[in-house]
Each structure stands twice: as C-alpha cells, then as structure tokens.
C-alpha cells in the first residue's frame, strides 16, 4: 500500500511568499514609505503590487504530491521546476516556525533527502499548516501522524537555569558579542564626518583613570558578556524538550523561531556525549544523536544542549535501551600511544623555549616553559582519555582532552571503514581506525589503536565483511589466543 497525498501551500502562505519576494528590500522600503513624498510612494505601491502578484502566482504554481512511492514538488513562476524523489530516499523532515510563520500559525517544512553522488537535495515547503506538515510526514515516512502531547513521554526538558549556565560556559555564545561589536564598528566606519572620532574623544575623556574605575568598567563589561551569552543560549534553546511517542523522538526548541525535529528511533545509529574545559567544573555535557539524514548544520540531532553528566545514561537508554554507559571503563590503548601524544605535542613549545633561551629574555623563557608544561599535561590527558569498548552490539570510543567526546556507534552503519597508519604509527605498532558515516553524521575514529587491538576489533565489528582482510598470520594468532582463552 502506498500513501497518497496532494496539496498546496496554506492560503496564508501568500504572506510568507510576499515577504520572500520583497526579500532584503523590505526594511528600506518601509523607511522610504514613512518618509518620502506621494510620487515616490506611488512608484513603490506599484512595486508592491507587482510583488504581490508574483507571490500569488508563486502560490498558485506550488503543488506537492506523494504518489506511487514518489514525492513530487512543482514550483516556479518564470522557470517552472518539477522535482521528484523516491520516498525511500527521504531521510528526515524538519519543521520550523520562524517568527512570521508563528504569527500566521504556519510552519516551514524541509525535507532532507539522500541524493545520488552523496550531495544533498533539499526540498522545502515554505508555508503550510501544522496539520499539513503532519500529513506529509505520515505519507513520506509511512508513519502515523505524531500523537498528541498526552501520549508522549518527555525524555528531557532543559530548565532556563541550565540553559543560562550552558550559555555562559559555551565559547561560541561568549564570543558572540565580539562578532556583534565587529559589525557595529563596520557600520560606524561608514558614518559621515568625524562623528566617530568625536565620540571616541568623549569616551576617552569620561573613561575612568583610577584603578577602581578601570576595575569596575572591566567587571561591568564581563557581566555584560556573560548576560549576552546566557541570553543567546536561552533564545536558541528556550524550553528545549525531547519527547518520545514510542517510534519517534521529537525535539522542540527556540523562543522566537520554534524548531521541531522528528527523528525515527530506528534511524538513530549512535550518540555523542561532549564536554568542554569550561563546562567540566559544572559537570555539564551536551548529547547528540547520530542519525542518518539530519545534518549537524540544522542542529537537528541535539538530544540535550546541556545536561548533568549523571543524567546522560538515563537519557541515552531512553533512546536506545541497550546503549552502553558513558561512565563505564574502556580498553586503554598501548603505552606507545602516550609517547606518540607527547611527541606530537612537544616540538612547538620546545622550539619556543630554545628561541627564548637564544634571546635571553627571562619572561619569555618562563612563558615558554609554562606552555611546555601545559602541552605535556594536555598530551598525557589526551592519552588517558583514549579508549574503546565493544559490547557485541555498539562500539564506544572516547578521545580529546580540552574538548572530550565519547561516542557510541553501531559498527555496521558506516558507509565505509578505513584503517590509516603513518610512518611514526607503524614504528610504534599503532594505527587509527575510521568509521565514515553518511549524511552529515561525519566520521568517528579510534585513534592510536595497538595493531593487535585493531585486528581483534575488526574481527568482531563486522566479521563477514572485515575478517577476510586480515593477514593470515593475524587470523592464526587470533584463533590461537581465542583457543587459549577457551581452554
């Protein structure tokens, strides 16, 4: 049985299309309308009518259809386009409600599909009702419409406090004010006259010159940065909620733009748990699902933007009942891996030390030595973090130091496997195993495995595919050690 569906955009979608037709011209247009004389307004009115006509045409030409196992989208005013993709190529559907859409009670639907050649073809319905979005999801993903809130179990809900803490411990939110300041400076540079210089002089005159004043100014700036970071996180992830209706996970978030991502539970191929240096003192981590079809760009795979470490296992068990515990011990990698971490970390800081000694600058020597010590500590920690474990079903991998990542993945899901070894690794008897996942899920690597560890791992990850690659002596060795263990 194949689902049938035939539809247009929601009638109010014309407003969205009109907004789109006007594009970036909307703001200047409003300014001119408010300030100019009647003739200019008349010209603009004609332009507006043309845009409205265009939007109406675009609306009337837009059709979507699901029939015979294909999704078909017809659109375009000047250049008509018909795009057709087989329903089984659809990897996911993302529903967003930008600000204007929320005013109109509409949503935007993006269909992420796997296209031949690995590039992604994206189809989107610019403005439909929530019911239409559900109907499309049901027809394309062959699933029942998303159940009412009552039947859904809440797996995770982020509290405002946690989100604020997540914001002030996230580098990208902390650095956001810098980007804003850059933009403002660029704008100010374009202002006429010496307004900026005069403003600058005034600021310098009024700036505090005593120690207390400077300290207060710096403190105020720091508080402002923290507030902006917290606000950014709250804005993006407001009321982040993951619910479960048995087959699907639904993640909703956002204050102004509400974003809804639906994830088929069967398509979850693993989970990433990350922590950073800033978040470690608070024992906070972020959790992402690895799912075929949802690119990281859309943030579509986030299960929890900030979460206490102790709660992670409960969350990922709710997604995958047999998921391994992120806190359970892993198999360490050989001591040669520690030497390799140190050898890779030291050349730059040591060169700086030599440089400083040559210059005979005492403070520079001190700084270079401090940097060397830090590099050694990070290298040792990088080694300590390295590890992997295979429980017969999922492969758990950990790596990193300042940014740590623990992943558990389905070892049969990758689009390709790869073993790499550099000359240094070969001399140390090490190699790196890569698992390349498709569709925006990226790659995961098991760094600096011992060669014998790699051989045993390949043999158990996917025996029928990977065992034929092993060199004869390896198979013999593994069989012998297996036999020894058995007796």
């Amino acid at each position: 049985m194949s689902a049938q569906l035939d539809g247009r955009l929601h009638p109010l979608g014309v407003v969205v299309l009109l907004r789109r037709a006007l594009g970036a011209g909307l703001l200047p247009l409003l300014v001119i309308v408010l300030s100019a004389d009647t003739r200019v307004v008349a010209v603009l009115a004609v332009g507006l009518l043309a845009a409205l006509a265009y939007a109406l045409l675009a609306w009337s030409h837009f059709r979507y259809r699901v029939a015979d196992g294909r999704l078909e989208l017809r659109s375009g005013v000047v250049r008509r386009s018909v795009r057709t993709i087989p329903v089984e190529r659809v990897r996911g559907i993302v529903v967003t409600a930008p600000f204007l859409h929320r005013l109109l009670g509409l949503v935007r639907v993006e269909i992420e599909a796997a296209a031949g050649g690995g590039d992604k073809a994206e189809l989107s319905l610019p403005a439909v009702s929530a019911a239409q979005a559900d109907g499309l999801r049901a027809a394309v993903l062959g699933a029942a419409p998303v159940a009412e809130h009552a039947d859904r179990r809440v797996l995770f809900r982020a509290t405002p406090g946690a989100l604020a803490l997540g914001g002030v411990t996230s580098l990208s939110y902390l650095l956001a004010p810098a980007a804003v300041i850059g933009v403002v400076f660029n704008l100010v540079d374009d202002l006429p006259g010496n307004l900026v210089e005069r403003g600058g002089d005034v600021l310098v005159d009024r700036a505090p010159h005593d120690v207390l004043g400077v300290a207060v100014a710096i403190g105020a700036a720091a508080v402002l940065v923290l507030l902006v970071a917290a606000a950014g996180s709250l804005l993006v992830d407001w009321n982040f909620t993951v619910t479960d209706d048995g087959e699907r996970l639904t993640a909703e978030r956002g204050l102004l733009t509400r974003r809804v991502v639906v994830l088929e539970r069967d398509r979850v191929r693993g989970v990433d748990v990350r922590d950073t240096l800033l978040r470690r003192p608070f024992r906070l981590v972020s959790v992402n699902a690895l799912a075929a079809g949802l690119a990281r760009r859309s943030g579509g795979t986030t299960l929890a933007p900030v979460l206490h470490r102790a709660a992670v296992h409960t969350l990922i068990r709710a997604v995958d009942a047999q998921a391994p515990d992120p806190l359970s011990p892993l198999t360490a990698h050989p001591a040669a891996a520690r030497r390799r971490r140190l050898l890779r970390a030291l050349p730059v800081p040591l060169a700086l030390v030599v440089f400083a000694v040559v210059l005979v600058e005492l403070w520079l020597i001190g700084a270079a030595l401090l940097l060397t010590a830090a590099a050694i500590l990070v290298a040792l920690d990088r080694y300590r973090q390295l590890g992997h474990a295979f429980d017969g079903r999922r492969l758990a991998v950990r790596g990193g130091s300042l940014h740590r990542r623990w992943s558990e993945v389905d070892p049969r899901a990758p689009a390709a496997y790869e073993l790499r070894s550099s000359p240094f690794q070969r001399r140390a008897g090490l190699c790196t195993l890569w698992l390349h996942f498709g569709q925006g899920a990226g790659s995961r690597r098991v760094l600096d495995l011992g060669e014998d560890q790699a051989a045993s791992l390949l043999r158990v990850l996917d025996a029928s595919l990977l065992e034929p690659l092993l060199a004869g002596d390896q198979i013999g060795r593994l069989r012998r050690s297996g036999a020894r263990r058995a007796t």
Binding site: A114, G116, G117, G118, A292, P414, A415, A416, Y417, E418, L419, R420, S421, S422, P423, R426, C431, W434, H436, F437, G438, Q439, A441, S443, E451, D452, A454, A455, L458, S464, L465, L466, P468, L469, L470, A471, G472, Q474
Partner: protein, 163 residues
C-alpha cells in the same frame, strides 16, 4: 601489517602517467620560481631575489626527485580487490590507508578520465557513498578492466543500469 594487501594492481602505465604528472608540476614550479626571481631582481631587491631563487630551487629539486621516486612506490602500494561483501582498496606508502566500502553502501560507480589519463588510454573508477569521506577511487585501469569492474560493483550494489 595486520591487513593483507588486496589482490589487484593498477595498469603498469600508471607509473609513467604519475611521472609525467610530476614532471608537469615541476615544470610549473620552475616557471613560477623563475618569474618571481626575475620580477624581484628587476625591482631592485637583490637579496630577496636570491632568497626566492634558493628556496624556490630547493622546492623544484624536491618536486623533481619526488616525480621520479614516488610513482614506483605509489604503484607498488596501490591495490584493490572486489570481495564478497565490499570493495577493498589499499593506497599510500608513507601514510598507508586501507579502505573498505560495503557493496550495500555504494551510491554511484562512475568511470572518468582527464585528458592526460585519456592520452595513456586509461580510465579511473570512482565510487561514492552517502559519506563524503567514505568514497574511494581507483585511478588508472584499461577501459575493458574498468568497464568490467564498474559492472560488477554496480551489480553487487544493486544499482540500476545507467546510474
């Protein structure tokens, strides 16, 4: 190493192909270095011109040596094999890589040939998967071997004719 090498090698003409490619790169480098040195010298910056000439000369010598040495190694270490469940490719002699692409994950199989490769009467086989990092290529085979390989990979991947 823990993995056995795949069974098949590339066409032996690939050694000459890589040599020509390396020599072309060397010739381009020579042209750039000479032009840069002449321009700086004419501009009156004699010291800078010498530095450009010495550093550029070293780069050119390195490229020339690599052009003669690496094709043999690249050829020796590049192997491929169609296994029961996947395509197995080994490449690289300094940084060695062994790739396995399960047939079930292959999205497209194509043959391509640039002008230089065509001049040698060879074609390359490209395999793509859903992962950008998960594809592979076999850079030089005679057309009949490449055609047979393409057909076999497409058949095992369950791809329709012409995709």
């Amino acid at each position: 190493m823990i993995l056995r090498p795949p069974a098949n090698q590339l066409d032996p003409r690939m050694r000459t192909y890589w040599l020509v490619e390396g020599l072309l790169a060397t010739a381009t480098a020579v042209a750039i270095v000479v032009a840069a040195a002449v321009v700086t010298a004419v501009a009156g910056a004699t010291t800078a011109a010498w530095i450009v000439a010495v550093v550029g000369g070293a780069v050119v010598v390195a490229l020339a040596v690599a052009a003669f040495v690496t094709p043999r190694l690249d050829y020796e270490y590049f192997r491929y094999e169609v296994m029961e469940l996947g395509l197995y490719v080994a490449r690289g002699w300094l940084r060695r890589r062994w790739q396995v692409v399960p047939h079930a994950r292959v999205q497209t199989v194509d043959t391509t040939a640039g002008p230089l490769l065509r001049a040698f009467g060879l074609v390359a086989v490209e395999v793509t998967t859903a992962s950008a990092a998960g594809g592979t290529s076999i850079p030089g085979l005679p057309p009949d071997v490449a055609g047979a390989l393409l057909e076999e990979l497409a058949r095992r991947a369950g791809l329709e004719e012409g995709t």
